[in-house]
Structure formats: structure tokens, C-alpha cells
């Protein structure tokens, strides 16, 4: 074992605390520190400092983290796990069978679609091969987490491409399940975690004529292509019917003591009819209405650019344009506020994975942009490693491998403020391709753990990598598409 100076050893200890020490050096450092009277006090202070820094960092994110835990615990309280899980002082000794997966996928509803070709092919096959008595209404375009088809009182396994016929429904797990259904006409329904569509049907007569979607609970985002005026899509809840002939809207059903249905309209117009009493209102784009006991059902403007979260940096969300706007003060001295996790999604399909978005930065700065971290992951075991990072700044891009090597850089011409840059990142097996404004930015083989057979997890972070300047950024048209092979 090579003798080391105190400074070398303490540098290695610093590496150890940063998780960047070679395995063969650990014992060297342990032995040296144990024997060296001059290193020991400094080493001990390093450990305390390490805890304090990590704790201050955690403290800065505490509000967001507590809010996630609150949601998780609330769901747990409503639907307690049937299996006990092992914990200290518990004699059962059983393993945690629930494998709770991260819940920071609050933005998972942005998952748009699996491969169009596969879907249409599946749909065509399904339509032509099923019995005419129960035609296919929609197919599962993407499914994330625990999702089941409801058919004949049973819960069936749901996969991408599963066809749903009349009378069938779908349910998503409260712990991160999400599903997108696609109708043959291209209309899409995105059911968020903890949601249930009791059934889909089509046909009917009179006022029920059209595509009927019975939403029992949860939040549903619908992008409905133009329907025949006499055959609208009707989303029916416990409290109301929403009738649409072509628009984008989100509808959420709360159950329990404060049961309600809330409708938010992004585009077009939706007619909302209260079941009790039968009153109707037209809800226009940029407005919402709530149907609940004791509340007047009148459309109100959606609060645009409402602050949703942030520390040091503020984040505003516009439900009408479905855009995120980030702004920050000079973060020098305001540690921990320089970057913000925007979303986290899971790609269980093991197929190609594509992320696209538009962003523009007021007063563009070279270091401000979007940072996408792709991680190889196992559905049962969690994230395995930090495999690949793609950082697109106002002035260029950088691809960093999981081994922390910069694999490639490129520059591009940032459009003037107000004109967004369009970014598309595609990972297919070991190939990665980054396009900016339709032109190739960088392409190559990453070869660092994102094998084609591995599912992936994506974290999207918006912020100033240098963390030194004030900045404002708007992020739009955020989509993540995964498809099975």
C-alpha cells in the first residue's frame, strides 16, 4: 500500500464524501486517519461539515419534499397497503413487497404517446380482428407504473397496445400509475395516477349519443379532435357531464366529503352540465368551472402563471398554454436555488425514448438551460446509475456520460427572446441524437449503461448551471414519448 501524505489522504477523504473515491483507496484513508493525530480532527470536522451541508441542502427542499410525502401518506391512509413491510422492531421479517417507486412524477401527465406506427398498426389489427359486437374504441398508447384494464368485473394486465372495447375501463395506481388512451380518430385521454375510467362506450341515443367516458375518480386530460356535432365526446362524472366536439381540457373528480368535479379548458369550448338540477354552462378556453354541493357553477378565468413552487427561483405554470415559466434572482449567496427539478418520468417500455420541448430565455445567458438526466433503471430495484446527461443551454449543448466524462459539446444559434428553441433528444439503444431547431446538434453512441433492454428514468431540471445570474425561461410543449420495440 502506497504511503500517502496527510494532504493526499484528506483530499481522498473529501473524494470519499463526494462519492468519488476509488475502492482501493478507502482502506488507505481509513488506516491513515485512525493513526494520524493531525488528520483526525480535520477529518472529523469534514464529516460534520458534510452532514451540515447535506442537511442544509435538504432543508432548502424540505417544503417540496414534505408536500410529496404528504400526498403519498394521504394516499396510503386512504388505501393502506395490505402487506406489512419489514421495519426495525417488527418481528415479521417480511420484505417490503410494495417497492414504492419515486412519486416525483407529478408531471407524468405530460407523457404523450408511444410510437404512432405501432399504435395504428395495433389499432388496425385490433379493429379488424375483434368481434363486431364489441368494437375497439381505444388502445393503450403508453402505460406507466401499475395500470389495469377493467373488464367484466376483473382487473386485467394492461400493456401498450392493449385494446379497450365498449364497457371496459382502466385504472391507474395511486402510486405513480399513468396511462394514455388513443381513439382511432386520434383523440387522446391521459389518466393521471390514482384515476379510474369506469368504462368507455360509444353510440347511445339522444343526449348520450357519441363517445362516452365515465370518469369515477382522478384527473383526466383530454385532447379531443373535431367530433361530429351530433356525436360529441361526453366525459361523465358523479356530478356532471362535459360535452365536447373538439378541444383540449382537463377534468378532475374528487371523491369523499368534499366531492366535486372541476373542469379546466385550454382550447375551444366545453359544455358542462350538472347532473343534479340539469343546469348547463359553456366553459371557454382559459376558464374553469366547479360542480360541487353548495357552489354556483359559473365559469371563472383560470389563474394564469400561478406560482407553483420554487426556492430562490420561482416557477409559474400557465394551465392554458400548459407552459412553465422560470425566473430567478441572482443566486450567488442563495445556495441551492440555482436549479429546480421539473419532472421525473419512468420509461418502462425498454424501447426508444424521446424527449422534446421548446424553451426560450429572456436575455439569453450561455449557462442557463434545461438539463435532462437519463438513468438506467429497474422497475423492481429502482435507479441503478446516473447514466447520461444532456444539457442544452442558451448558447450550446453538452452531453455528459454517467462516468462523468464530457462526451460532446456543440454550439447553436439561440433565437432572439420570445422565439423558442426546439430541442429533441432521442435515445434508441446505445444511440443518442440531439436536435436543436430541426438540425443535428450532436449524435453518437453513449455506451454507458443505457442498453436498449433497460428501462430508463428521466429527470428534467431547469436552471442556471453556473448559478450566478438572474434569468427567466419559458418551457413549452414538453413531451416524452416512449415506445416498445
Amino acid at each position: 500500500m502506497k504511503p500517502r501524505s496527510c494532504q493526499e489522504v484528506l483530499t481522498l477523504l473529501s473524494d470519499l464524501l463526494a462519492g468519488a473515491i476509488a475502492a482501493e483507496d478507502i482502506e488507505t484513508v481509513e488506516i491513515h486517519v485512525a493513526k494520524c493525530d493531525s488528520c483526525r480532527p480535520l477529518a472529523e470536522d469534514f464529516f460534520w461539515q458534510h452532514r451540515a451541508l447535506a442537511e442544509v441542502a435538504a432543508h432548502l427542499e424540505a417544503a417540496e419534499f414534505r408536500s410529496r410525502l404528504h400526498a403519498l401518506l394521504a394516499k396510503e391512509a386512504r388505501h393502506p397497503a395490505t402487506a406489512q413491510v419489514a421495519a426495525p422492531f417488527v418481528s415479521s421479517g417480511r420484505k417490503d413487497s410494495s417497492q414504492v417507486r419515486p412519486s416525483r412524477r407529478w408531471a407524468r401527465s405530460v407523457i404523450a404517446a408511444a410510437g404512432l406506427f405501432v399504435v395504428f398498426a395495433t389499432l388496425w389489427w385490433a379493429v379488424t380482428s375483434r368481434e363486431a359486437s364489441n368494437p375497439v374504441l381505444a388502445v393503450v398508447e403508453s402505460a406507466d407504473g401499475e395500470v389495469h384494464v377493467l373488464a367484466g368485473g376483473k382487473r386485467l394486465v394492461c400493456r401498450v397496445g392493449t385494446a379497450l372495447g365498449s364497457g371496459q375501463g382502466i385504472v391507474t395506481s395511486a402510486q405513480g400509475g399513468a396511462v394514455t388512451l388513443k381513439y382511432v380518430d386520434g383523440s387522446r385521454l391521459e389518466l393521471a395516477a390514482g384515476g379510474e375510467i369506469a368504462e368507455l362506450s360509444e353510440g347511445g341515443a339522444g343526449e348520450s349519443r357519441g363517445k362516452l367516458v365515465t370518469l369515477s375518480k382522478g384527473s383526466l386530460r383530454a385532447v379531443v379532435v373535431q367530433q361530429a356535432a351530433d356525436r360529441p365526446m361526453i366525459v361523465s362524472t358523479l356530478h356532471a357531464d362535459a360535452r365536447v366536439v373538439g378541444t383540449t381540457f382537463r377534468i378532475a373528480v374528487s371523491v369523499g366529503e368534499e366531492a366535486s368535479t372541476r373542469l379546466e379548458v385550454m382550447e375551444g369550448k366545453v359544455r358542462l352540465r350538472r347532473l343534479l338540477g340539469g343546469q348547463s354552462v359553456d366553459v371557454l378556453a382559459g376558464h374553469y368551472a366547479v360542480v360541487a354541493s353548495g357552489i354556483e357553477m359559473s365559469p371563472k378565468p383560470l389563474a394564469r402563471w400561478s406560482l407553483v413552487q420554487g426556492y430562490g427561483w420561482s416557477v409559474a405554470y400557465d394551465p392554458v398554454s400548459e407552459s412553465y415559466r422560470f425566473s430567478g434572482v441572482n443566486s450567488r449567496g442563495v445556495f441551492g436555488g440555482a436549479a429546480l427539478k421539473l419532472m421525473e418520468v419512468w420509461n418502462p417500455s425498454k424501447g426508444p425514448f424521446e424527449l422534446s420541448y421548446q424553451f426560450d430565455v429572456r436575455e439569453p445567458q450561455p449557462q442557463f438551460g434545461i438539463h435532462a438526466a437519463f438513468q438506467r433503471a429497474s422497475e423492481s430495484e429502482g435507479v441503478l446509475d446516473q447514466s447520461l446527461q444532456v444539457q442544452v443551454f442558451a448558447g450550446g449543448l453538452q452531453v455528459v456520460s454517467g462516468r462523468e466524462q464530457v462526451m460532446g459539446t456543440a454550439t447553436f444559434q439561440q433565437p432572439p427572446p420570445g422565439i423558442p428553441a426546439t430541442v429533441k433528444i432521442r435515445i434508441d439503444g446505445e444511440r443518442i441524437r440531439v436536435e436543436i431547431n430541426g438540425k443535428l446538434g450532436w449524435a453518437g453512441l453513449h455506451g454507458h449503461g443505457l442498453e436498449g433492454s433497460s428501462p430508463m428514468k428521466l429527470r428534467l431540471i431547469v436552471g442556471d448551471v453556473a448559478g450566478a445570474r438572474a434569468a427567466e425561461c419559458t418551457l413549452r410543449k414538453l413531451t416524452v414519448v416512449s415506445s416498445s420495440r
Binding site: S14, G19, P88, V400
Partner: protein, 206 residues
């Protein structure tokens, strides 16, 4: 492996006597946990809240990754909640939570394929008390010392601890090599250590 730090504990006592303690009263905690056992989730959340930053920091120390640590703590919290009926009132709630986090974090570390942790006794001692008082004086002094870090020293600490970046990524940002970044982080730790010693009025600044 490292000896206990009596000066650190003297400091903690000093701060506690000065009325800076934010640790929850044990009786209050017991009441909240009793309510939680009766189905009051908010009671559980309130009892849990003071420990969360330290639990995430502890998970991070073991996993070596801030995001993985949050996942670990999230899972541990659910396990604790589901097993609340098995929690004995006379047991230390923070220690119980820490034990669950430790087990899940070690599992995560294995999953992440990291090298062995090293200095386990030191980590255990430093995180022995997961309450917020344990590093209260460090936290307050750190806030001031961090403000004094400028340039690349500030960027490396901010990048690693507050933004969860890897050292290679930070190297690209501060435009230096990985080795240079490791040295910069070490130097920054020493600068911070000296600043902390000075601010909290401790002896033995080297």
C-alpha cells in the same frame, strides 16, 4: 473510528441553552404519534417533519446521491407509517426512522453498484442524532460562510451539495479537470472548516 468531539458537544449545549433549540418536545411528539396511531396522518407528518432534513442527509451520506436519498427516505417514511403500530412509545422516534433509512439506503447503495462506504463508524456517530438540533450551530454558521465563498469555490459546493451534480459535471462548469475539481472541493472544505471554526468560536483552528 474517529474520536468523539467534545468541543462540538460543548457548542451544542451552548446553543441549546441559548434557546436556539428547535427540537420538538418529546411529550408533544408522543401525543402526535399517539394520534397518528389512531389514524391522524397529519400527526405523523408533524412528528416526522423535524427529522426529514437529517434523514435525507443521512441517506445521501450512505447512497452518495441526493435524489436517491430522497427516494430512500420516501420509502422509509411509508414503511414507518405502515408499521406505526409496532413502534413502542418508549423508543426514540428519530432513531427508529434513522434505522429504517439506514437499511433502505444500504440497499440502494448496493443497487447503485457503489464501492463500499468506508468510515461507517464515523458516519454513524455523526448522524447518531437525526434531530434538527444536532447541526444547528453548524447550519447557522454555514449560511454565513457559504456567502463568503466566491468564484469556483462557491460553484463547486453549490453544484455538489445543493444541485446534486457529479464532480465531472461540475468540472465542465468550472472549466477544470476532474482532478482539479476534486482538489478544489477539498480546498473549499478546508476554507469552510476554518470559517466555521472561527464563526462558532471554537478552539483548535489549524
Amino acid at each position: 473510528m474517529l474520536p468523539h468531539s467534545p468541543s462540538h458537544h460543548r457548542l451544542l449545549q451552548k446553543v441549546a441553552f441559548a434557546g436556539c433549540s428547535i427540537h420538538m418536545d418529546r411529550n408533544r411528539e408522543a401525543d402526535l404519534l399517539a394520534k397518528a396511531k389512531g389514524g391522524d396522518v397529519s400527526g405523523f407528518e408533524e412528528a416526522l417533519a423535524p427529522y426529514l432534513p437529517a434523514l435525507v442527509a443521512y441517506g445521501r451520506a450512505i447512497c452518495g446521491d441526493h435524489h436517491a436519498a430522497e427516494d430512500v427516505v420516501q420509502e422509509a417514511v411509508l414503511i414507518a407509517y405502515r408499521n406505526l403500530d409496532h413502534f413502542f412509545p418508549e423508543t426514540d422516534f428519530g432513531a427508529w426512522l434513522r434505522a429504517i433509512v439506514r437499511r433502505k439506503a444500504l440497499e440502494m447503495r448496493r443497487t447503485l453498484g457503489r464501492v463500499r462506504l468506508g468510515f461507517e463508524e464515523s458516519f454513524e456517530r455523526v448522524f447518531e442524532d437525526p434531530g434538527p438540533d444536532a447541526v444547528a450551530p453548524w447550519r447557522n454558521a454555514l449560511t454565513e460562510c457559504l456567502k463568503q465563498l466566491d468564484g469556483r469555490a462557491g460553484e463547486v459546493v453549490r453544484g455538489y451539495y445543493f444541485e446534486g451534480r457529479g464532480l465531472a459535471e461540475i468540472a465542465a462548469i468550472v472549466k477544470t479537470s476532474l482532478v482539479g475539481t476534486k482538489q478544489l472541493l477539498y480546498r473549499t472544505r478546508v476554507i469552510l472548516r476554518n470559517c466555521l471554526r472561527k464563526r462558532i468560536g471554537m478552539e483548535g483552528v489549524s
